[in-house]
Structures are given as structure tokens and as C-alpha cells.
């Protein structure tokens, strides 16, 4: 996917640069922006290290367990029918906690663990189960309490109040997650029959 975005952007800029007569600007951009990338990296990496360090302390002290427990009722509601004591459920609630705390690198392995647990329940079917769809969709719509990377960049560019956007981010995230969950539920009812039929025709093709 990204190989197309990358190539298209560069080729399009060469074409547009020629048409607009801005080839010297394009040349300068190519040579300057790569070192700007390193400057950007330097301004981000400190905050990333600080936050990962603090979160490691929170995980070791069990402070994150508290939030996992807060999540149980919500997770029970979203993953109806899934045993709350199962490995899958545990991994799901920890995945949601890690997302909330902005621990992308911790959230992904937990989410993948939850996916492979759900895979066992799905008995290796080629069609995604309801729980799988819900888990993935929740992960594509991020809810984050403290957006550290964004705040670090805002601070770098001289924001008077880098964290002022937190309430707006929370509300926007909640809106986006709720709309995603509603779509999942709405299509869960209408989509199943069609899926069953598609599966049937797929099997039919295989038999031929």
C-alpha cells in the first residue's frame, strides 16, 4: 500500500513541478526535507522515552490493573457472549487499557494475542467472527487520554497550552468509536445472512 503512496507522491510532484515551473523548489525540498525528518525525530524521541519509562513503572506497580478493572463492564457490553474469565477477554481489556494510556507498542501485542485467542474460538474459519470485527474496529478508532506525541509537537511549535486539546480529542474519539460500534452492530444483523450465502457460493466454486 505505502509503496504506491510513496511513488505516486514523488512522481506527481515531478510532473506538477515541471508544469508549474517549480523544479528548483522540488529539488530543494528533496534535499532539505530528509534532514528535517531527523530534526522531527529528535524532538519526538525524548517524549516517547519519558512516557514509555513512566508507563513501564505503572505496569510494574500494577497501577494499570486498576484501569483494566474499570474497563470490564464496557468490555462485557461490547463482547457479549465472551467468557469474562477467558484469555481472550483478559487480553482485550488490557489492549483497551493500553490504547487509552497511549501505549501503542504495548497495545498491539496484546491485541494480536486477543486476536489469536478469538481465532481459536472461530475454529479457523475464513470469515471474521463478531468479536474479531469489534476488536479490530475499536483498535482503529483510538481513544487516548494523554496525547503525548501531539502535545510534544505542539510545544515544539510554540503552543501556549499544548494540552488544551485534550477535552476536544476525548469527545471526538468517543464520537468516532461510538459511530464505529454502531456500524458494527447494525451490519452484524444484516451482514450475516449475506456472508453465509457468500461462503456457500465460495464453497460451491471450490467443489467445481
Amino acid at each position: 500500500m505505502m509503496k504506491w503512496v510513496f511513488s505516486a507522491l514523488i512522481l506527481l510532484s515531478v510532473v506538477f513541478g515541471m508544469m508549474n515551473g517549480q523544479m528548483s523548489e522540488v529539488t530543494n525540498a528533496a534535499l532539505e526535507e530528509c534532514s528535517t525528518a531527523v530534526t522531527l525525530f529528535l524532538s519526538l524521541v525524548g517524549v516517547m522515552a519519558l512516557w514509555s519509562g513512566l508507563m513501564n513503572v505503572a505496569v510494574k506497580s500494577g497501577a494499570t490493573n486498576f484501569i483494566t478493572r474499570l474497563f470490564r463492564p464496557i468490555a462485557k457490553l461490547l463482547f457479549k457472549g465472551l467468557d469474562p474469565n477467558s484469555k481472550a477477554f483478559q487480553a482485550i481489556s488490557m489492549n483497551m487499557t493500553a490504547n487509552l494510556l497511549g501505549l501503542g507498542n504495548a497495545a498491539t501485542p496484546l491485541g494480536l494475542e486477543a486476536m489469536s485467542e478469538l481465532e481459536k474460538e472461530n475454529k479457523g474459519s475464513k470469515i471474521a467472527s463478531n468479536h474479531m470485527v469489534m476488536l479490530v474496529v475499536i483498535n482503529t478508532a483510538s481513544i487516548q487520554l494523554i496525547p503525548t506525541t501531539i502535545a510534544a509537537l505542539r510545544l515544539k511549535h510554540g503552543s501556549a497550552s499544548p494540552f488544551e486539546i485534550i477535552p476536544a480529542i476525548l469527545l471526538a474519539s468517543i464520537f468516532s468509536v461510538i459511530s464505529a460500534v454502531l456500524i458494527v452492530i447494525a451490519f452484524r444483523k444484516t451482514g450475516l445472512k449475506k456472508d453465509a450465502q457468500d461462503n456457500f457460493t465460495e464453497n460451491g466454486k471450490e467443489q467445481k
Partner: protein, 173 residues
């Protein structure tokens, strides 16, 4: 002084005090975690170089202006600033690519402008949808993801619209 100024210092204090009470070696555990954070930063550096270079070229050639101009009637119809449109387009595809555009918006329009704030909220409330779907289903045998993509794209779109609305709501224009 705003309420949000308290969040970070209080959170750091809480984590450290809780760790000390539970007998955690807070300094060494901090160093362990910080090392992981550094490694992630190093991992995304090559992507940052690649994407900043191609985005910089795209912008310098004037192609970005054409694209933004083409989409602006649609975005202003939903109250979304046209300057954030490229960011919204790239956000579901690439996290580091979006970061690069976000940085560009901040340096051009300032973090405390309406545009800068909408870009910040957009970054915080949406995810790299396609990447997430690919790696999550990558660990399973599933080939049919059903309503997953539709729901995820709806969530992104809802996030874009909501970011403009919530900024107006909490911070004014």
C-alpha cells in the same frame, strides 16, 4: 494556568508514588521502559525520512495546493478547514506520514490557530486504520473481514467531522 496544565505533573507524581508504595524500583523500571520508547523512535526514523522527503517535494511542486483546492468545497460544506484535508487523507494510511503533515500544518499555521487545533484533535482521535486492520487480521486465517472496513472508515470520517466541531465547542474559533 489551566486545568489541563495539572494533568501531566499529577499523573507523573501518581505513577511514581504508586510505584514506590508497591516497592517497585522506579528508576530502573523507568530506564527499561525509556529504552523501549527510544527503540520505537529509531524504528520510525527511516519512514520519517522517506515520507518527509516525498511530502516536501509534493508540497513544493504545487500539487498539494491543487489537491486541496479540488476537495475544499466538500470540506467547507461540513465545516472542516481545507488546510487539514491532506492530513485527513493520509491519516488512515500511514502514521508517520500523517505525523509529517501534522508537523507541516503546525509550523505553517501555528499550534494555537483553529487549523492547528483541528489538526491536533484529528491526529489524536483517529488511527492508522488500514495498517491496524492488516496486522490484526494477519495473525488469523480470516480472509473475509465483513463489516470491518466500512465501520473503521466510518469511524475515521466521524472523527474528522467531530474534530472540527469539538474544537469550536471547547476552544472557540
Amino acid at each position: 494556568m489551566r486545568l489541563t496544565d495539572f494533568i501531566i505533573p499529577l499523573m507523573i507524581s501518581f505513577i511514581l508514588i504508586h510505584g514506590l508504595v508497591k516497592g517497585v524500583d522506579v528508576f530502573n523500571e523507568f530506564l527499561d521502559g525509556a529504552k523501549d520508547g527510544l527503540m520505537i523512535g529509531v524504528k520510525i526514523l527511516p519512514a520519517l525520512v522517506a515520507l518527509m522527503t516525498c511530502m516536501g517535494m509534493f508540497k513544493a511542486s504545487g500539487a498539494l495546493d491543487v489537491l486541496t483546492y479540488a476537495i475544499s468545497p466538500l470540506s467547507s460544506a461540513i465545516g472542516f478547514p481545507p488546510e487539514c484535508v491532506p492530513l485527513a487523507l493520509l491519516r488512515p494510511l500511514s502514521g508517520s506520514g500523517a505525523l509529517v503533515l501534522f508537523e507541516g500544518v503546525l509550523s505553517e499555521h501555528g499550534p494555537d490557530s483553529f487549523i492547528g487545533r483541528v489538526a491536533s484533535v484529528l491526529m489524536g482521535s483517529t488511527e492508522t486504520t488500514f495498517y491496524t486492520i492488516a496486522i490484526y487480521f494477519g495473525v488469523t486465517k480470516v480472509t473475509r473481514t465483513r463489516q470491518c472496513l466500512a465501520a473503521a472508515i466510518t469511524a475515521d470520517f466521524a472523527g474528522f467531522i467531530a474534530s472540527a466541531i469539538t474544537v469550536r465547542l471547547f476552544l472557540g474559533i
